[in-house]
Symmetry: C2
Subunit: 406 residues, 2 copies
């Protein structure tokens, strides 16, 4: 209802054209193969305008004609689809103990998925920055070898991401700030394409919104379990990022009054109950006998394996954690009234055991209070990296088109 006072600029003819180019691009993405007449019929744009817009998009090599002909009465129509070549978009997730790199073409089709062990969060900031930049460089080189032009590269970082690309990692991991943005600019030698750093939760939400099982749901939350707990918020089809880009810190919703002390000084915060360290400690009480856990992936696999085998202690602990997670979900749902909450990260790994308890907790609220479903991400474990790759596609469809090929 509130309009965008401070931000509405006067519109002119180039805005109209940009908007309409994006409308056509989106229509083709979701309806390909389709004809110019299909586009005109569905968008309300007139045929001459559609024809001109399509010509422009063909020249920019964003669309191509498939040569197929619709089986119908009248003159055969030339069918359009997105160009799978010559573009690529790249996303890299910096997780607590590994890196994931994904590249996609314009249609969202995967071109590569690379996973790398990552000493980063246990090493120095310089090593972490270098590892990310090196991986980014290799992916960019691979795309160049395929003669693809990179539309953009986005790094999904845990913790808080400042607008300039600085990342504040989890303080309890004892980490200084990383300057990933500057490291990537240097490492990639000031690339032509845009390099963006964003939070893993924001990008996971984008991936769900563009390509998850609940794609195009305008009010959607992606609640991502990890060392910290973040929530990516999509409201009316727009990402909610907050004024510093720090929105989505869900770790300190208080869920369990009898729960463990949190590093923040309070008790029973969602992170202190369902964050990775707490989760490992509660399900595998013997684990920390050899010192604090820094590599969570194998522990998470072990928990899932034990739960899968029906281990009573582990499944009981996961049910208890699921109930508390359900309380967090309830608070988020009451505040933001989404249609769906998608669980990602460690919550997705453990969803078979967490989800029933989450749903039971939601069902215990007053009728009508909660109007959302809760599901496990079908994109797991690639949500954040995929979201990173999709960000460039999203910007394209918001009107940031590449220049026509020379």
């Amino acid at each position: 209802m509130i309009s965008t006072h401070g931000m509405t600029r006067p519109a002119d003819l180039s805005d109209v054209r940009t908007t309409n180019l994006a409308v056509v691009l989106r229509f083709v993405r979701t309806h390909a193969p389709c004809s110019r007449a299909d586009i005109a019929a569905s968008t309300g744009l007139n045929k001459a305008t559609v024809s001109s817009l399509v010509t422009d998009l063909l020249e920019r090599r964003l669309l191509r004609e498939t040569g197929l002909t619709e089986n119908r009465i009248g003159r055969p129509a030339s069918m359009l689809t997105l160009q799978s070549r010559p573009y690529a978009a790249i996303g890299i997730e910096v997780a607590a103990d590994h890196l994931v790199a994904i590249a996609v073409d314009l249609t969202g089709e995967r071109l590569l998925t690379w996973r790398r062990a990552y000493p980063g969060l246990d090493g120095t900031p310089g090593r972490a920055e270098a590892a990310v930049a090196a991986l980014a460089g290799r992916v960019v080189a691979k795309m160049a070898a395929q003669e693809r032009r990179v539309l953009g590269l986005t790094v999904a970082a845990p913790g808080l991401v400042a607008p300039g690309g600085g990342v504040r990692f989890a303080p309890h991991l004892g980490r200084a700030e990383l300057d990933l943005g500057a490291a990537l600019e240097r490492g990639l030698r000031h690339p032509e394409f845009e390099v963006v750093i964003d939070s893993a939760a924001n990008l996971a939400a984008l991936a769900e919104y563009r390509g998850g099982a609940d794609a195009d749901t305008p009010n959607l939350l992606a609640l991502i379990g990890g060392v910290e707990i973040g929530v990516g918020i999509v409201a009316e089809g727009r990402a909610l990022r907050g004024h510093r880009g720090f929105a989505g810190q869900a770790g300190h919703l208080q869920v369990d009054c009898t729960g463990p002390a949190c590093r923040c000084g309070r008790q029973g915060c969602l992170e202190a109950v369902a964050g990775l360290p707490a989760l490992v400690r509660r399900t595998l009480p013997d684990t920390e006998q050899d010192g604090p856990v820094v590599d969570f992936a194998p522990e998470l696999d072990r928990i899932a394996a034990l739960a899968g085998n029906g281990d009573a202690q582990v499944t009981k602990a996961l049910t208890e954690i699921g109930t508390m997670l359900g309380r967090g979900v309830t608070m988020l749902a009451e505040l933001l009234d989404p249609q769906v909450v998608v669980l990602g990260g460690s919550f997705a790994t453990l969803a078979p055991w967490l989800l029933p308890a989450v749903e039971a907790e939601l069902a215990s609220r007053a009728p009508g209070d909660i109007g959302c479903r809760v599901t496990a991400s079908t994109l797991h474990p690639d949500g954040a990296a995929l979201g990173g790759a999709m960000l460039a596609l999203d910007r394209l469809e918001a009107g940031k088109l590449p220049a026509p090929a020379a």
Copy 2:
């Protein structure tokens, strides 16, 4: 970052004109008196376009020429300002024990402020609906007598407001649903103008965004104390309403593990600690000896008076409640990263005693976690009703212009 996929329509020339009419209207609102040349210089629109847009807005009687001349070199310029006549916008707040009606002109200037005692929440739904409709009818008649055309009427309701105008009041007040929308349509005999029902918190947030001390702050929360506790969320200049319009339920953020049981079944929810009934019970423990309180306004005044006189028990209780309110504000700030949280309703009444504790609690968080200020609303106690009146002005500036005068 996420574009509005499902919702972006193709743009055409009439969209451009509507957008630009709204741009001119907003510019004049914030810069009046100003000349056509000022508008052209600041908006980037060319002079001929501005001239045509201004003529249109003059014909619709939204602008007027003041006849004043800028003191400058060259030909004297005709200065423009908003028409204070012939339009009016109306807002009515349905509070727990009273009604507030406010009408404003196009410039936001108050035309009337009426307060009425209200048996509503203690009576039957039919009586409540009738009381609201009767007050609305009297305000509309008053505007008609002044020969003002009503642009819109908005009712600010407590509780949850469904898109159709149905209102679910606080369940612990034992109230059935009200159908305010239908009652107003009947009572006002199917008026030409738009009748909207919205939550008090959403409208209070709009009032702050348009006319509060922190007007035009794009990321702003209005946290409103009352029997229930609601938060109006403005993110990047847009209201976040959720998919059913039920966003903003902040009452069940858990803030005090040792706090009282909440009607929701949990313990120490913000509402159970800082909602009006809990607040009265904690600061004035003797009050309920004569039965449950249903009329909160006098109790709130008594609490403020006692605190103002330095009553030790009351100020101590308010400090404790302020600390817990601070925890709720912390959670909201971490989730939504606003620039400012404006306290309204009973929180504004008691701000002198609550705010220091709220601020101390925020300051206790890790450096950088919280990036917002907390203030008491300067619009109190009229925020929600004023926001209701402003909604019609807001829609006008979003392009819903009245037809030119016949």
